[in-house]
Amino acid sequence: MLNREDFEILNDGLIYFDNAATTMKPRCVVDSIVEYYTKYTANAHRGDYDNSLRVDKKYEGVREKVKNFINADSVKEIIFTKGSTESFNMIIFGFMSVYLKKGDEVLLTKGEHASNVLPWLNLSKKIGFNIKYIELDENYRVTLDAVKKNISDKTKVISLAHITNAIGDVRPIEEIGKLCLENDILFVLDATQSIGHLKIDVKKYNISFMGFSAHKMLGPTGVGVLYGKEEILENLVPIEYGGGMNTAFSSDGYYEIKSLPARLEAGTRNIAGVIGMGSAIDYLTSVGMDKIHNYEMELKKYLINRMKSIPNIKLYNEDNDSGVLLFNVGNYFSQDVAIYLNQFKICIRAGNHCAKMLHEVICSSNTCRVSLYLYNNKEEIDKLVDALMNQDKILDTLV
């Protein structure tokens, strides 16, 4: 495993395999938050005293870190949000509500997370643009051919997860980005599941907008990022108005709003969260994104090999390039399996993983999900496999 000692929470035998839901936090992330609260608490952009200046420097420093981490052109393209969900709502209600017209087409898939579906469904009812779902192949993956087949002269936007939370498939985003460029289509990327696992380059992939949450990349909850290419982001209309985003207002109704990025960050932000996210980015960078990915793939291979030795196991997505594995054991209901594993302090996720349209495609809507990260190791996988070998014990936890 990589750097397991930095994750105190794992010291007591906790086996955490639910990293697609959220990740554990290394000491340095927690320390950076505590330091803000104990050593230099102040609001950002508001004062002339030392602590306030220190906060400004830290806060804006994280914008720079994010910019470099995703290879954006400018810090103006980085907006701090509450997380992916808010980022997507801003993109869709702040930008697409003006950009899209009746009859336009938006391409999604049935494997997308609720936060990249529901805002679209809601807005399409108001505006009358059409949502088309790119067909998934027999392994629930998006192929370039399927994307091409769905593009028409009405296609204005393609909005996809880089890695889906339910299946863990990695989409060919570089190629899709190229297609978008050639066809004058905006490419919206949901990087929530990939940001902590793969190197992302917004320029190389021709990304117009992107959203992610810090808590899935070793950072704190309640904070995330909206990225937008500057000339496009300029046209995103704020959906929140208040302090920090205006330059002037008066009783005759006049008001003026700031330039990017402040315009899109109304009110006191989650300063501690932003600082913690910066620390998570430093941490990931120091370990190395390639190293993390390679290690996860090695673990995944081990996981699949070991899982295959379990009687009556069904694996749904063996050959994808992420640390997500879906399975079912015999006819046991996924939640019964998850509750059984809890006795061994093994945390897995049961259910439909917030991709509620996926059951229209996948035959079993309920699955158990293991999602790996850098601090997991082979011994943990062995313990999972041992527990699942004793299948006749699964329902012992009923009473």
Binding site: Q335, L395, T397
Partner: protein
């Protein structure tokens, strides 16, 4: 009843549920319930005639507790008047929620009297009752 016996009864109702399968018959009122915190998804249908539950069925995709509780519930509520049924439902809900309840009215449903120890299971055990409650409310 000891835990082992309760477990066996739950398992039996899970693996061989009774009254499963919803008839295509307009005289049945049907309600779908989903568990907001997990993925249990069941339908309950009841035929109510002259203030009495003449028949009750369920179907769906749910965990062992939810499926078995649906099965036991149909057994306990079939043939009851709406007044009796409502008393059973209230008692059962109280049992799951650790409130005072009348054990004698619950029959086989008493096998769920330890579910409160596993908070994540509570909603599973309550789901079928919430469906039949909705049906009763809709006819009253």
């Amino acid at each position: 009843m000891d835990s082992n016996m309760k477990r066996n009864l739950i398992l039996d109702n899970y693996q061989n549920p009774v009254n499963r399968g919803i008839p295509k018959d307009n005289s049945y009122k049907k309600v779908n319930s989903k568990n907001e915190s997990c993925v249990d998804n069941i339908d309950v249908a009841a035929k109510i005639v002259d203030g009495k539950i003449e028949d009750i069925k369920f179907d769906g995709d749910a965990c062992a507790i939810c499926t078995s509780a649906s099965s036991v519930m149909t057994k306990e509520l079939k043939g009851k008047t709406l007044k009796e049924a409502k008393a059973i439902i209230r008692n059962y809900q109280n049992m799951i929620n650790e409130l005072p309840y009348d054990e004698d009215s619950l029959g086989e449903l008493n096998i769920y009297n330890e579910v409160y120890k596993q908070p994540s299971r509570k909603n599973c055990a309550l789901l079928p009752m919430s469906s039949i409650s909705k049906i009763i409310d809709s006819v009253e």
